[in-house]
Structure formats: C-alpha cells, structure tokens
C-alpha cells in the first residue's frame, strides 16, 4: 500500500490524452522526464487534483484514496504542494506575506518552520519586497519556500528552472539539492532537461505522448540502451562511486567505482562520501589494447554487453564495469573495423566526467 498509485485517463487539448497506470515511489526524488507535449504537466495537475481525469481511475497516496470512481478529494485537502514554472506568487502580498499565506493554511505542523526555510533558501533580504521587484530566480526560491511551508506530504515541481537563465538556474539547483537532502519529503520533479534530472533524481519516469515508456531508478535507466534516453544527443550513463584521495597539486580528486579509480576535477568533498558521476556517451571511446601514452587519464576495463545501431553512421555500446554500466557512442565504421561483438573485453577511455553535486546517502 505504499507509493503513489495512479490510474489516469485525462484528455487534454488537441486530441492529447494522458493514459497512465503505475505506482511511483514516495521516497526521494522522482523525476518525470519527457519532451514538451508528452503530458508531464497534465500528470502533475492530476496528482495535485487541479485536473480531474475521466472516471474510472484512481489516485492513491500511501494507501489514502485521493480519487476513485466515486470520490474526489479537492486539492486543498490533499496536502500536496506545487511549485509552478512561473512561480505564481501573489502580487498583492510581499514575500513574507506570501510565505505566511502557506503557514496560516497548514493543517499539520510537521513541516519545516519559517526560520529554516528562510535560511535554506536565503530569503532573508527578500522578505519585505513585493514579487514585482524580484528576479525570476528569486521568485522561484520564494515559491519553493512557500510550498514547503504548507507542510505538504508530497512536493510537485513543474520545470521550476525552465524560466531561469543559466546562472540563476544553477543557483536554484544548489538550493534544490540542499532541500532534497534535508527533507524527508517525496518529490516529483518534472523536467525536459536530463542534466537537471541527473543532478536531483533517484527514480525516473519516461513519459512519451501521454504514456509511460519506462520507469526505474536513475542509474538503471541511464545505463540501458532500450530507452529513448540512450538515443538522445546528451545520452549519458550515471555511475556511483566513493570519493577517495585528493590531488591538489594537479587539481584532481579520486573517485572509486567498482574497484577502479577515476580522476575527476578537484571538488571540496570529504573522502568516503558517495557521489554520482555523469559520463556522456559521446565522451567514451573504446580500444582493444590499453593505450600507454594517452592524454586521457581515465581508462577502465569493460565488457561489451550490448551493441545497437543508431542511425546509419553511429553505434551505441553498453559496457559493463563491474555491476554498473557505461554507454559509448562511436562510429559504425570504427565498430566494424574493430569487429566489436558482445562479450568483448575492451578498455573504455573517458574523456571527461562530470562529477554530479550531492547525492543523498540513502541511495543504493
């Protein structure tokens, strides 16, 4: 009876129809990923109760029915907080009053307090300002704070970074990561940006044309070839490793993954911390012999588990590294020349690896 059970049939504009029948986790961050028009916002609206799907259908949160064929719990009774893409701060209230709005309507006191939220999101200087005087990034922070202060059981975020410029977006991401770490609050995060998703999500739901194409843990889905993720330009595998020694002289840090050591750019992290690593497929090349004099530092022994053609000129490889996987994208010509086959033992050369910020310790 745990989790968020959904059975939805919700028509939208222009013949669009959201049809979903699944159970989503209610711990950690679940990202809902898909292209525009795939129904992500509709899905959130149905979960929040802002849209009523056709009957029959159901929405059940940890055993509690929010929607059945006969009943419908309205949004203001569900304790689901929603951060919208456009913040939607009340224009007639200043920031403090917007936050108070949430506090005065909460039905339970088990959420974060005002002090905490203001501190986490650094809202102290903004409190007396009116929403019209805030930048998009600031508005979004206030919106997140307001949502948290309503003491929700579930937090929904609909592409919160979409309206922000790059630096504001990065800033906001830091705040969000801090939150996901501090709070024991299930979060549903909608995005069309896989890098954003990689920073935050534990679980991934792939939505396409109103239907769920795939769902699973982030690490798992990113390393597979049978989802659309691997076929995107920025396809990347995500691996989990432990921080090791730092090498300040060369500005590098060690990361231990499946018994192998990777070197990444220097980070201010304590050794022993678990970290995710995002390795784009285009940055992974393979060779049969371990090169001795390469400029590439990260060369790991891998086994080819799957080969898939991508278009007429390229090929995707799924490479096993211990129990985790890497993706590699090479030209079909090279694949043919190297006579690559499943089961081959190769070396993967990783040109660059992005060390993802923060990873909650309750993963894997």
């Amino acid at each position: 009876m745990n989790g968020l059970a959904l059975q939805l049939d919700c028509p939208g504009e222009q013949h669009f129809r959201l049809q979903v029948d699944c159970v989503l986790p209610t711990t950690g961050v679940t990202a809902i990923y898909g292209p525009s028009g795939s129904g992500k916002s509709t899905l959130l609206d149905c979960i929040a109760g802002l849209r009523r799907p056709k009957s029959p259908g159901h929405v059940r949160f940890q055993g509690e029915s929010w929607m059945t064929a006969e009943t419908f719990v309205p949004p203001w009774q569900r304790r689901v907080a929603y951060v919208f893409q456009d913040a939607r701060l009340f224009p007639h209230l200043n920031v403090q009053q917007n936050l108070d709005y949430a506090v005065s309507r909460r039905t339970h006191d088990d959420g974060p307090g005002m002090q905490q939220v203001v501190c986490w999101l650094e809202l102290a200087e903004l409190l007396q300002r009116s929403p019209a005087a805030l930048s998009a990034g600031q508005k979004q922070r206030v919106a997140i704070g307001r949502a948290l202060l309503s003491a929700p059981r579930l937090l929904l975020l609909d592409e919160p970074l979409a309206n922000l410029d790059h630096s504001a977006s990065q800033q906001c991401l830091i705040y969000l990561q801090r939150l996901t770490k501090e709070l024991q609050l299930p979060i549903l995060y909608v995005s069309h940006d896989i890098e954003e998703v990689s920073q935050l999500a534990d679980y991934l739901v792939l939505l396409e044309n109103g239907k769920i194409a795939d769902q699973g843990s982030l690490l798992d889905l990113c390393g597979r070839l049978d989802t659309r993720l691997s076929h995107e330009e920025q396809a990347a595998a995500i691996v989990l490793g432990t921080i090791g020694q730092g090498d300040p002289e060369f500005g590098l840090t060690e990361l231990e993954v499946e018994g192998q050591t990777l070197l990444v750019g220097l980070q201010q992290h304590a050794p022993g911390q678990r970290r995710r690593l995002r390795i784009p497929a285009r940055d992974v090349s393979v060779c049969r012999e371990k090169p001795l004099d390469s400029s590439i530092l990260n060369i790991l022994p891998v086994t080819v588990t799957e080969i898939q053609a991508q278009g007429s000129a390229r090929v995707l490889l799924r490479l096993a590294l211990g129990s985790q996987y890497l993706l590699s994208r090479i030209t079909r010509k090279s694949a043919t020349r190297l006579q690559l086959q499943e089961g081959d033992q190769l070396f993967a050369q990783i040109k660059s690896a992005a060390l993802l910020m923060d990873s909650a310790d309750n993963h894997e």
């Binding site: 949430a102 909460r106 949502a147 309503s150």
Partner: protein, 226 residues
C-alpha cells in the same frame, strides 16, 4: 430647504445606499459565477443581467407595477411576511432599483473577476485554500478597485433613477418621492426656485463625488507605476 426637499434628498440617499449594498451582496457571487463559467448557456443569464441597460426604464416600471400589486403572488407573499403592502412603498422602489442598477454593479465586477488569472487560484488551492478562501484571500484583494467602481456606479445610477420610480412610486412625499420625482414635480408646477435648489444641489454633489473618485483613481495609478 423645505421639509419636502430634505425628505426627497434623504429618501434618494437611502434608496441608493440600500440598493448598492444589496447589489454588492447578491451581485458579487453572481458576477463570480459568471466569470468562471466556461459553458455557453450562462450567456442567457448575462443577457438577463444586461437587459436593464437596453430597456427603457418605463418598461421595467410597467411590469413591476403589475407584478407588485397586492393581488399577485409577490404582493401576497410580501403581505404575509411583513403585514404591509408592497405597492407604492419604499421597498418596491428598492426592488425596482436593484433590477434597474443590476448591470452597473455586476458587469464591472464580472470583468474584474475575469482578469484574475486562474493560475493564481490554482496555486492558492494547492496551498490549502478552498474556493471561498481563494475568493476572500486572492480575488477580493486583487479586485478591490472594481468594487469601488461597481458601488459608485450602482449608487450614482440609482440616484438618477426616474422612469421606474415614476411608474411605480406613486409620488408619496417622505416615502417614494425621491429627488428626481420632486424635481419633476417642481418643474411641472412651475416652481422654479425650488427646482433650481434641488437640481443645482445634485449637480454640485455629483461633481464633488466624481472629483473625489477620480483623484483617488490617479493616486492609485501613480502608486502602481512606481
């Protein structure tokens, strides 16, 4: 000023004030309902609300004269409830004025409510606000100015009411002889001094009221711009 003139002024102000208050109380939910309807049939309701704008007041007065007589269902029900006759009473004028000034209160409110973004109300809903709460905490603060506009229009329109009152008032000093009727009486019986006093007084009062309203309007607009 004579007693009759003071009576007329008092009656007019009372009529306008009571009518305005009633229209705000009943017109607000109506305007809200109309502003949130997406179906087509509410157009019928909108048309009914707008009728007093188009129909000559005498048409309204004519039908009310017939409708409010003691031997009709309405007249009888009124008598049961209050023990008094509805015809030619101040209450009859209130009923007439409420219908007559209805669109002047409902339409500005409806337009203002329609301008409140649905998105804000959805956000309020997710923060725990039920529809009544949403109305009180989001809609009203954002449409405060139109309440002032609607009330002013309703009040002013009722002060200027003549045709309806002529048909159903019965010209009873102290009860139904409002300003416009008293004025009419004076002109018809060539008592021009009294007519000047009333008419002139009304013009000055209206001017002062409008100046105050527009000044407040400017002040608000400047604040928004800053």
């Amino acid at each position: 000023m004579s007693n009759a003139e003071l009576d007329a002024i008092g009656l007019t102000i009372a009529l306008a004030a009571i009518t305005t208050i009633l229209l705000l109380i009943f017109g607000t939910p109506l305007a809200w309902w109309l502003s949130r309807q997406k179906a087509k049939w509410p157009a019928l309701v909108e048309a009914l609300v707008a009728m007093p704008l188009i129909l000559p007041p005498t048409v309204l007065g004519f039908y009310l004269l017939l409708l409010l007589a003691p031997d009709t269902a309405v007249g009888r029900a009124w008598y049961q409830l209050t023990g008094t006759q509805l015809a030619f009473s101040f209450s009859a004028l209130v009923i007439g004025s409420v219908i007559y000034s209805l669109p002047f209160v409902v339409q500005p409110l409806q337009a203002a409510f329609q301008r409140v973004p649905e998105d804000l109300l959805k956000a309020a809903a997710t923060l725990g606000a039920n529809p009544l709460d949403q109305f009180r905490s989001v809609v009203i603060p954002l449409t405060r100015r139109s309440f002032v506009t609607a009330a002013s229009l309703g009040f002013a329109h009722t002060v200027g009411e003549f045709g309806v009152v002529l048909m159903i008032g019965g010209n009873i000093p102290g009860e139904t002889q409002v300003l416009s009727i008293a004025l009419y009486d004076y002109v018809e019986s060539l008592q021009f001094a009294e007519a000047h006093r009333l008419a002139g007084g009304l013009v000055v009062f209206s001017l002062v009221l409008l100046i105050m309203l527009y000044r407040q309007d400017r002040r608000d607009n400047w604040r928004v711009r800053a």
